[in-house]
Amino acid sequence: MYLALKEIFHEKLRYSLIIAMIVLITYLIFILSGLSTGLAGENTQAIDSWGAKSMVLNKDANVNLNQSLITDRQAEDANLTNREAVIGQAPVVAKHQGSPKESSSFVGIKNDQFIAKNLKIASGHKVHNNRQVVVDDQFKSDGYRIGDKIQLNSLSDKYQIVGFTKDAKLNVAPVIYGTLSAWKQLRGMENTNAFGSAIASKNVNYNANNSQLKKYSIAYFISKLPGYSAQNTTFDFMIGFLMIISLIIIAVFLYILTVQALPTYAVLRAQGIPAAALVRTIMGQSLILMAAGIIIGAALTLLTSRMIPIGVPIAFNVPMLSMISVGLLFMGVVGAAIPARKIATVDPVQVIGG
């Protein structure tokens, strides 16, 4: 460690440049991971808040809430306890004079079932009739207020906002919670036998007792949200590639520096300095460079997260970022392995007398 630090402080410019590269990569990884977590959250926040363990959908809906319709007949034998809740979902566009239009997800629920019962109201109150809705906070930041009467799609009837709830996003769209009757109306199915889009259950093994209906675990249901898996895979790939790039950068730089310093290492070996001490030096340098890069990168990320405009879906999952940091440190060790080998096997005779 002595040599490692001395060399870094003596060759400030050289090592600053390497650290700068690592900072940029770490920063990019952290921001990407933040966006990944943030976007994933906007896909699943509402579902997460329900606390359901399984979802029952029409088996022909391809695990897509949008496509699923359960009829009264199909739900006939479904035994709905206080652990089940019916959901009627529909994509809608909300409008109110003076505020931007919101592409939203309408979720019709029943007041006496667990989703409605557990819904956390940040301000205002719960839905009391078919013309009232509770909406996601995003409406608030976009200028909507309690008491506003909003138009949904092109329906002539208006719906009044009576409350706001936090973190209610479904597949990146803000959620409008209303009644199941309102949902029927939005879908133009007022006088039909439509029951709902899905049944959410807190019971992993819930059975709706109908061959047209199929139960999915909540994890599987989430993985099938439109675009969700593709988006996560894309981010994971980018982060993976950046990890590999960081490995290559540290390996190449350390290798070049090591090759330049080989005569010095050879003399030290001739003077009886154990190879292990020199290997520790290069490993130490690699870890110091990586750690410095990670710390500065994390600080920049923190700064960025403070300045980033509201609405950009960025969220930091500290355990995940810690894992990434450990992964980067590990890359540092791997990257130092080749130069370390070079040092361990240097032949002191070659520098003597030539």
Binding site: H10, T264, R269, A270, Q271, I273, G353
Partner: protein
């Protein structure tokens, strides 16, 4: 009594038709207090001889004995220890770590080997003796050739070895400096009671030697002290 002894050393490089016989039946010994200079032209086998003596290379046949112990019986780690504790190398170049100040060159040795080095006062005396006490805060890149060589000598002596092996210590030095360095090695052997072996093609160093050997084509012979100066082998 000799602290280092080479017995019937032969060294070959390569195999088959490419095989070269670099050292022929070398017998050599050095005692504490001796300054021994081995002269010979370039390619005669001086460096090979020195690295075998210091345990950096193994001879093809024969035995190196340091303080009564055959080096061939030591494993790699023990040979590192031998070089760390008993043998000090002074080389033509790269002897110093470029990013350590002069004083840190010693500090680094102390980190690796906490015991058996010169004490604080002994080191200061040595630096005074070598006239480099004012250079302790300088980096090797800021030193002249002669200063570098003196620091390298101090570095080799700091670990307090019995044997000092020097390879071409006067390369790139002018005549005045050569005399200075020669005197220094002489004092080193006498005052610090070390066995000092210098291999060089610089015959000017012969003036300071207690004994001079000559290597020609890998064969070593004793050379009579003839006191020829400014007569160098071609390099």
């Amino acid at each position: 009594m000799s602290v280092i002894e080479l017995k019937n050393i032969n060294k070959y490089f390569g195999t088959g038709t490419a095989k070269v016989h670099v050292l022929h039946d070398i017998n050599f010994s050095a005692a504490k207090g001796d300054l021994i200079v081995v002269v010979g032209p370039s390619g005669s086998g001086k460096s090979t001889f020195l690295t075998i003596a210091g345990g950096l290379q193994t001879p093809s046949s024969g035995e190196v004995i340091v303080e009564g112990k055959p080096v061939s019986e030591l494993n790699k780690k023990q040979r590192d220890k031998l070089r760390l504790n008993q043998v000090g190398f002074v080389l033509q170049s790269y002897s110093l770590v470029p990013y350590l100040r002069v004083k840190e060159q010693f500090e680094f040795v102390r980190k690796i080997k906490p015991n058996g080095n010169l004490g604080h006062e002994e080191l200061e005396n040595l630096l005074n003796e070598l006239g480099i006490e004012s250079l302790v805060n300088k980096y090797p890149g800021q030193l002249s050739g002669g200063q570098t060589q003196r620091v390298a000598i101090a570095r080799a002596l700091y670990a307090n070895p019995e044997i000092v092996l020097a390879d071409e210590p006067t390369a790139a030095l002018d005549s005045a400096r050569v005399i200075e360095v020669g005197k220094m090695f002489k004092e080193l052997a006498e005052r610090h009671n070390k066995a000092v072996v210098i291999v060089t093609h610089d015959t000017r160093l012969m003036d300071f030697a207690d004994q001079t050997y000559e290597i020609l084509d890998g064969r070593m012979s004793v050379r009579k002290p003839t006191h020829i100066t400014n007569n160098q082998f071609e390099s």
